[in-house]
Amino acid sequence: MIEYIKCSSNNECVEIIKNAVRNKELIIIFGKYTVDYQGRAASKLTEGERFVIIKQDGAIIIHRPTGYSPVNWQPSTSVIEVVERDDKVVLTAIRNKPREIVWVYFSEIYGIIHGKLVDQGEFIMYMDEHEIRDILYENPELIEKGLRIIEKEKPIGNGYADLFGIDKNNVPVIIEIKRISASRDAVLQLFNYVKIYENKTGVKPRGILVAPNFTSSAIESIHKLGLEYKEINLQLLWKYKKAREIKHGTLLEFLEKKK
């Protein structure tokens, strides 16, 4: 459960933060404060209105009201202390290795949000072009049944076609992959490979543009130039990516066992 509290005194704020830290809760403190940092470098942030986030694992992030990146942070902390001193609430976050200390001096606390959050979701980050290429190289049926991939990064002219293969009728296939929406430029790039290959070998290959989606001008050009396109489902590819990931134990398992 998440609670929002507007404490009536510094003493009350100290108790609320202390309890929340002890219970390993997520805490967001809004207020007016200064920040000192000492460790591998040193910094001083003069007074201003901003907020501090203390995460459930002890990570601390200090944000100003604008900009996406924090002004100070502590990736992990060994000790978080909160005390009242000289009419201020002082939060001290100590990281042992490397030794780094952040002090936050609140002259005023506007409000505190605290509580436990449960998050077991998976963070899905879509893949880069090389990962997509490697998955399609190993699973060409995702492009077309009966397709056999012979080469990746095949040099053609001054460029490299992502994949090169042979279809079920033994016709050469040049495949160009785009990670995001494929534009007309991608079509022209593929067409260039097709033409160079045809001029060099005398055999007309098929050209397939593979992407999660296509701009309308890309589709129009594909039809005009006698090429083909195949839409790929990135979420499906993600599953393939997870399946091919190599699992590792850690060295410590082996070294500690031995010890």
Binding site: G39, G249, L251, L252, K258
Partner: protein, 245 residues
């Protein structure tokens, strides 16, 4: 205060490039006996252990142990353009680390001595069933070949005479070494063994093949791989956890 002068900055470059692939910051441990660097990657899959005895240095003035904590990215940047024969000088005090590259000109870089913790790794000696010494080129080519087909390098010693280095993926590349081949200097097999290692991690040390002539590999079935590069004086050991397949 300590001061060391290494005769070949280019060697230092390759070592630091490898270190930079597994850690962002590194602690150079200067002891009266020699320079030691140990670094383990954040996933605890790979460990680099470097030892250069004081005899490997042109000058080695380290009266007592001192640690130089530096960013590997910064070091790599300044060593990017070193040429063969340039000297690498490191002067360390509690507060700062001064790196000097002595070439046609003298380039000096001053850094704050970072508090980089030494990695906490159990000092256990692993026992290996296979030990083979070979020319480094064999390893370099096996890694490069394996990259063309997949993500794993499989090592197999089926008997006392043979060692395979295989790239495994959609297809397979295979390097076969048998006793008597000039590239394989020695092979000792206590028990036939086979194990696979991720190329992504092996690639981190492939540039060390530029500064070593010989390498020793040690492994057992589904156990870590130890790859030791012998320098003219000193050595670099790379310990890598096996891939679970």
């Amino acid at each position: 205060m300590a001061r060391i002068v290494y005769p070949e900055a280019k060697y230092m470059k390759e070592i630091i490039d490898s270190l930079g692939k597994i850690v962002d910051e590194v602690a150079f441990q200067l002891t009266p006996e020699g320079l030691r660097v140990k670094a383990i990657d954040p996933a605890r899959v790979a460990l680099i252990d470097i030892y250069l005895p004081q005899t490997a240095f042109l000058e080695y003035d380290v009266p007592e142990e001192i640690i130089a904590g530096l960013s590997t990215a910064n070091l790599s940047k300044l060593l990017k353009k070193v040429k063969k024969g340039d000297k690498f000088v490191m002067e360390v005090s509690e507060e700062k680390v001064v790196i000097v590259i002595e070439a046609l000109v003298r380039r000096t870089y001053r850094f704050r001595n970072l508090e980089v913790p030494l990695p906490e790794v159990p000092e256990a000696q692993l026992e290996f069933n296979v030990e083979a010494q070979m020319l480094v080129d064999v390893i370099k080519h096996a890694i490069k070949d394996a990259e063309t087909v997949g993500d794993l390098l499989e090592l197999e010693a089926p008997d006392q005479e043979t060692l395979y280095l295989r790239g495994r993926g959609v297809s397979v590349t295979e390097t076969k070494l048998t006793m008597g081949m000039p590239a394989l200097l020695s092979l000792e097999v206590k028990n036939p063994s086979k194990s696979a290692y991720q190329l992504e991690y092996l690639k981190h040390v492939v540039n060390l093949t530029k500064i070593a002539e010989l390498a020793t590999i040690r492994f057992s079935t589904d156990m870590p791989l130890e790859l030791e590069f012998s320098l003219s004086e000193g050595r670099v050991k790379y310990l890598l956890a096996p891939a679970a397949i």
